[in-house]
Symmetry: C2
């Protein structure tokens, strides 16, 4: 099954894309060239590409959050652009840190233009994100953004730290996921609410909606990192197990006190690259330990919690429907 983005989400692109291009246009030429490649707007020679870009879920969430509190989507545009810039800052730096050579079926920036270019382009996007949100003139929005960046850094730092450890607990793994993904989705919804002049209660409900949606998103990402279809995700089969990543389903299995979990621990403790047979064994062990079902169930619970926030908020019906569709997309997506 291929889940498609709700039309209200794709409709926000018509507002977000020009604003994003305008912001990136402020960068000096050297950085603009790298960023345009990273965003899928140009190829490695700087020639325009017809398609490109990611799902742009975060800016859509910001615009829908403003509409949920009955503001015009335009009010949230600086926040929407800023969160998308922060998201891409983190992708540029994460690809360097993780040594990932491909993203969205194309060579990563560090791979093509070198590590310094990727670090500097990330730095430039983080700074530009602050510029854009600061101009909206709402200090709470700026603080929401920088607070989420600190969270993001904390999450990525934990992720790196986990690499050298076999004793990662499930709670700290969920905290890491909250930092890596929950924080910026929470910020996207909250910044949209703030710029839409939401009441404190409504802003908090939207922040919680975004945070829960983000956690569900990350858990589904972790499942796709093991069981996703390579031709769809653009990642190798069993990608996360290949690098012995401590993603949520893996840690849930390691932490399961089952014989399958113990056997997985033994395979994860080895240092030589896993064979194809070992990879499939790992995936089976995770499934048999109950961790696959647990992760899927947990993702559904996060979505249910997001739904509860939404129901308490009483947004206009079309926006309620769009945000509900968004939670469904996050659960059912295959890429």
């Amino acid at each position: 099954m291929t889940a498609t983005l709700p039309s209200e989400v794709t409709a926000t692109q018509a507002l977000v894309q020009p604003a994003l291009r305008e912001a990136v246009g402020e960068l000096r030429p050297a950085m603009r060239r790298i960023v345009s490649y990273h965003l899928g707007w140009t190829d490695e020679h700087g020639e325009p590409r017809s398609s490109g870009g990611g799902k742009a879920l975060r800016p859509a969430l910001a615009l829908l959050a403003a509409q949920a509190v009955r503001a015009e989507p335009e009010a949230a545009l600086p926040g929407a652009v800023a969160v998308e810039l922060v998201h891409n800052f983190s992708l540029l730096h994460d690809d360097v840190m993780d040594g990932d050579t491909e993203r969205r079926h194309r060579p990563t920036v560090w791979r093509l233009f070198g590590t310094p270019a990727a670090i500097l382009a990330g730095d430039a996007l983080l700074t530009l994100a602050v510029d854009v949100v600061e101009r909206a003139g709402d200090p709470a929005a700026t603080r929401c953004l920088t607070g989420s960046v600190h969270h993001l850094i904390e999450g990525q730092s934990a992720d790196v730290d986990f690499e050298g450890r076999l004793d990662v607990g499930l709670q700290e793994c969920l905290d890491m996921a909250d930092g890596k993904t929950g924080a910026l989705m929470r910020c996207a919804a909250q910044v949209g609410a703030l710029l839409g002049r939401a009441s404190p209660v409504a802003a908090q409900l939207l922040a919680d909606f975004g945070g829960n949606l983000g956690m569900a998103f990350q858990l589904v990402d972790d499942l796709l990192g093991i069981w996703g279809s390579p031709e769809v995700t653009g990642k190798p089969v069993l990608a996360d197990l290949r690098v012995r990543k401590k993603s949520v389903p893996v840690v849930a299995a390691l932490d399961s006190r089952t014989a399958d979990g113990a056997r997985l621990r033994e395979l994860y403790g080895r240092t030589d690259p896993p064979t194809e047979e070992e990879l499939h064994t790992m995936a089976e062990l995770i499934e048999r330990s109950g961790a696959l079902a647990w992760t899927r169930d947990r993702a559904q619970r996060y979505v249910a919690q997001a739904q509860t926030c939404l129901d308490r908020l009483h947004p206009p019906p079309p926006i309620h429907a769009a945000l509900t569709d968004l939670t469904r997309f996050v659960l059912e997506r295959d890429r």
Copy 2:
């Protein structure tokens, strides 16, 4: 001759250091540990060190700029802390990009804690800098800071780009130096002036003072990178020539249309590591081409321009004297 920092500059440390520690204390533990090591406050095990830290010229400049327009130094404190955080963000990332293994006679962060830790700690400091300046409640100060970061990134990007080129022109090399060092020194003085509620004319004079001082600082740095005493600078003898860096004196020599410049170009065009004999030849060629004298003269001219800004500003006499001493220190320093 060892130039010492003017007492008014070192006196600002009493204000800056506690504020800097308070800001860094806001970071989460993992980042705080890395940053405390980088700033020289702790050793690699997290144990406190008695000495530490750099010259902290930039925060001193911010506080003196506020005093130059007859404000209390405390008014500029958020700006002072923010520029010092930005400076250290750039050092952390530059050390990764340049592959430098030592800073201030200690292993660099990436060398000790890994590249991801250095990238993330830099990201955290940049974000923290924005937090600190934003709280001062003056949008112009925040914009001054982020504007200087974009300049800084541009300068570092040019520096990286120059590595693969032999045709670097003198003007673009000076522009690069202005980005790498001029911009943040300009911002330090300007942000101090802005937070000290300077008139637009006074703020501009102080910005120009800082920018000129920064250029002089960078040119002296470039001279020390070739002729500095290793036991004082903590860098290997003829350090910049070893890596065939396109610093200002080098580019001035390459660009000199002299036989010495042509011979240097030939040595710089080689790809194998230079021998000790070649290193000394390079240094001699730069001197004989007139580029050493030119660079020294140019540094003096920047300082003279800074002095002109100061004279037009008419700050209180003790502040005039302190800022004058600062320009002298920048010219005469040996580290």
